[in-house]
Symmetry: C2
Subunit: 504 residues, 2 copies
Amino acid sequence: MNAREAYEKLVKWSRELFLIESTMELLSWDQRCFIPEKGHSHRSEQIAYLSRLYHEKQRDPRVGEWLEIASTDSHEPDSAEYANMREWSRWHRRATKIPLELVEELAKTTSEAESVWEKARARSNWGLFEPYLEKIVRLKREEAEAAGYEKEPYDALIDLFEPSMTACEFHEISCSLLPFIEESIGLAMKKPNSIDDSFLFRYFPLKIQEEFGRFVAGRIGYDFKAGRLDVSAHPFTAYIGPGDVRITTRYNTGDFRTAFFAILHETGHALYDQGLKESHWGTPCGMYASLGFHEAQARFWENQIGRSKGFWKFFYPRLLKHFPILADVPLEKFWKALNVVKPSPIRVEADEVTYGLHIILRFRLERKLINGEMSVREVPEAWAQFMKTHLGISPSKEEEGALQDVHWSAGLFGYFPVYLLGNIYAAQIKEAMEKDLGPLEELCSRGKFFTILEWLDKNIYSKGRRHTPRELIAKITGRGIDIRPFCDYLRNKLELLYLGEGNP
Amino acid sequence: MNAREAYEKLVKWSRELFLIESTMELLSWDQRCFIPEKGHSHRSEQIAYLSRLYHEKQRDPRVGEWLEIASTDSHEPDSAEYANMREWSRWHRRATKIPLELVEELAKTTSEAESVWEKARARSNWGLFEPYLEKIVRLKREEAEAAGYEKEPYDALIDLFEPSMTACEFHEISCSLLPFIEESIGLAMKKPNSIDDSFLFRYFPLKIQEEFGRFVAGRIGYDFKAGRLDVSAHPFTAYIGPGDVRITTRYNTGDFRTAFFAILHETGHALYDQGLKESHWGTPCGMYASLGFHEAQARFWENQIGRSKGFWKFFYPRLLKHFPILADVPLEKFWKALNVVKPSPIRVEADEVTYGLHIILRFRLERKLINGEMSVREVPEAWAQFMKTHLGISPSKEEEGALQDVHWSAGLFGYFPVYLLGNIYAAQIKEAMEKDLGPLEELCSRGKFFTILEWLDKNIYSKGRRHTPRELIAKITGRGIDIRPFCDYLRNKLELLYLGEGNP
């Protein structure tokens, strides 16, 4: 077998992994959107079977040999082949280090834990969840030890979602961001009731919300011939495969923001997936750069675009046609209401300013749990303490505290940081884009969303995973991860909102 | 390995096959109901991958050895183990005889042929389809030769759908049925316009059709917590797994019958699947007895029940609430309209009497094709000749002739007979049921559908594939396949419809 042949073997192997994964994606989409009540137990069996198949194939003993032979060919550092070899080697290293038994025990434990977590949350009973979380933490620590790390166990977990990010680096990022967030909250809290957002809670009929959401998603570039919009308890994007990227939302007829911003957020994810190159599908090069970058796409459309004044200059007249109930609300007032800063105990309801605090809290706790510096039992108190100190609020029940997120019950340790990285990347991307295209406010107000999409396609979507996230942000911005654009963006907005100054 | 261990290996292997198949069932359900336009090509790849996986696993070289060891244990002829061993051996014999390359070539050819068939049908152009059908016939003949048969190649194909049925036996059945059908058509055609069915073509709003259909399906026993009703171009039932059996229909606002009888038909299929024993899922014993039996369940609910006067005595008042537009139509008139006999060139639009002719025609042609006694080119003329002779009509275009069914393009040779067997079994089942429960007209008019369902569950659903279809019909009726109950049932109905006599 020569290097070329070994490389082709790897492509075939990789495509099979992707086919299994994309089938699981449909099983899971259906489970969250359409499955009948009594179908869940069989669905779990289907997913468990494919998951086992996936993990076995991932551990195919021939992969190491193919990688060795294929690596005797040298590839240009910017080529698809180079990137594929880099990622396959990464996957292979990790897969061969983590025993299949550990993977299966984690799958079994988290599957049980998720339903216990649901019960615990419904009853605001941390004690119910505690033994399961303890077991998951123990297994994730085992996973980290098996995978290996340079400085601390948490690094081995965060690397799965944001390759080469470390706890140390993320800690520094969050430490430099924290004072800015606190200062911003202070600014907003000086005039706590200066922005009226009461009209966002009028009656918005579901069907019309759906129509408007579809209109906007399509208008900014989402291809409905290669997608669908459905309803699920928690909004998500399902990348079934080329030509099939589905989004979901949930509707609240008493709150305009719920469905609309979920649609924008998921559309952001979906535009990225729809923009990945079909010809690379089945290999790393056909994938998103990192989860941080994926989140950045969602945040970019949801916040940088969807909460900008320019966006609403363009869409507000249309919104009024759909919802005459807002006829008495001027554009300026509507825009301000969408951007109000209000501390909330719930992460998914947080505004752009306070959101980061929710992430920093989770990061700090899970890092300690994984590094063995905190016990599961101590979580609720540490949680309450942090919320009181930094947001000035105390969750009245665990349902609004440490039981609010599904992540830990699903074994997703090291995942939360990508949400904050997404916000930071999004602001950096916006700044770079404006250097090329001029002010986004201007483009949005003229409905030039295709221009924006084209830029994203050229600079991000079409590149897939050809570069590491670190390389990619450097290619886009000429520098590394940097919180400055995010702070500038928010400071500017806050001045407009709360001081009546600043440039739009 | 002892016999028990070998048997357990077979159970595990069998469950894996079922899991792969049930995953393909969801992929295919989604493809027919919800997939976005651009998602088809990726979906074909997903299905092709799982299908390859299935066929490889089916050919697992260890299965023969397990069967041999497991067969050293003896099981009671009525036990689940006995039935499972019987079916696994059947599958194994066939799988080892048919080369994987042939299976894959057939899959590839039929996948292409289906889209060519769609085009050919749209253009009524048999010539376009001819070369593809020729290739499929050739491959199916190869399959039959590889699988082996006693008398003629066609036997090897029909056996896949109705185990141990032969061309010879089905030929005899159809020959004894033919004169009865012709006589019945003659009877109906004496008074061709005696039944007014014009009101069935009034305007029936889609949403209300759906509501009524759901109501009836639920009322006769379909469990919506273990199912769904959706829309697709061709109605079908998808058995995803225990607790998840979905049905579809299509709506025609200008014809009451289209959606409603499709819902009843698919509900019949679905009640069978919902009634199969979950504890046997993944083994033959958890399967339907044969496709003929499956079709019998659909026909039973669609025709024996759904076109009976008793059924409408119960549901007609409710129907009038949904559709006040029928207020001027008395029950008797409505019931007659649903049962009118009218020769049509289209199989799926045929009434209960003429339906059999459509099957006999297809059976005769495909038997000749497979046995090498007719060429593909001769089909359209033979088709036209048969239709003219027996139904007195000539299809004006191929779209209404030999291009109307998808089956041959999908390689389904030997399948058509199950439709007619379904009608025959259904009438035999009805007769046996009435011996136990008294007249169905009576039960239906009082809404005692649960009593009917219970009988079916006890005598058919819960038995799964424990018996061969031949054994099962004997257990139910005390005799073999018999057309007499079907003829009696139709004769009785025709007398009521066209002579105003007979007992309901």
